[in-house]
Symmetry: C3
Subunit: 140 residues, 3 copies
């Protein structure tokens, strides 16, 4: 069995933003030498997501508005118990559950096995600080 482990550092200057991880993950799969296997890509922080969807900026704006409707930012202690602890990011912990923590992608013939529009993204919900994403590849 072969494996490759890599932590990617993220540093998003805004509170929320979507950042492509696609090429970095594809490069790591090539570097691993794994021909048949799986790659796990996950946010190592609990106010961020890794997800696969369309590389289309309009859709990304739609996601942002939608998630704000489902779980609005509200720093006050009234809406979220979590924000009575001195935090202001309870909304981010909710948004991340909708978009998910991780993706697992097949590796076939040494490459990411993806459909035509599948694109791997990081979604930051509480940025302005350094965070990490784990890429873990196993296979043969």
């Amino acid at each position: 069995m072969k494996s490759l482990t890599k932590e990617l550092w993220m540093n998003v200057p805004e509170r929320r933003a979507i950042v492509s991880l696609h090429q970095e993950v594809a490069d790591l799969v090539a570097e691993s030498g794994v021909q048949e296997g799986l790659v796990l890509v996950n946010a190592m922080h609990i106010t961020a997501s890794v997800f696969i969807n369309d590389n289309e900026p309009g859709l990304h704006r739609d996601y942002d508005r939608w998630l704000e409707e489902l779980a609005p930012f509200d720093a006050s202690p009234e809406r979220y118990h979590h924000n009575r602890t001195g935090e202001d990011n309870a909304d981010a912990h909710h948004k991340r559950q909708v978009m998910g923590r991780e993706v697992v992608v097949g590796i076939t013939d040494g490459k990411l096995h993806l459909g035509p529009w599948e694109h791997i993204f990081y979604y930051e919900f509480d940025g302005r600080r350094r965070k990490r994403v784990l890429v873990k590849i196993i296979g043969e």
Copy 2:
């Protein structure tokens, strides 16, 4: 390490529908000869989901109404930026995030290791065309 890779073709005549993948995945696990391992089952398209839940038609109707409340179909360019690109399926990209892209299931003693009611489904949110699901099995 053993592996098996298979793309399943889907062709749902309606816009939205839930289709069982369960027997096909179970058969592929048997065909792979893997006794201990993991199987990844994921939609290769970004307006569809693979999920595990109850094989009960009433629940499937409930999901459909619920997802329509959370992210309504609206082909107009007003609600969704994505639909200003000529697409009408922005809602499908949202619904898929709630239901998820993929499932990962354990393989034990050569079989899917599932609870009594777990059933693997494909959820089409923008059908009337051919799409694929990836089944990737690794183990020993």
Copy 3:
């Protein structure tokens, strides 16, 4: 390839509750002897979730209220078709989709490869009976 398979029994006396699985999963990874690999942790029942987020009781209360807004408990046959079958737990099948069925975590140097605040939890949405969680470890 090494593997370890373990079913954890849960028995939550309330309808809904969040229970830590973290130490048990960490101990199983140590017991497996796997140095590089993946661990899958999934609910084997379709009205429960396994998820990773913050070990902070205020946030857990926030999740509970939020999920009740997104998919309210309603035993009557009016709101949910599923509850016309004699069940009263349709809401639980919805809540579980938001929080997810499973997590996949990397194993590096024989340990769970997690960020500083990542904590593995079970979320029961229809308790008062025995249910299982699967821990499946593969690697080398």
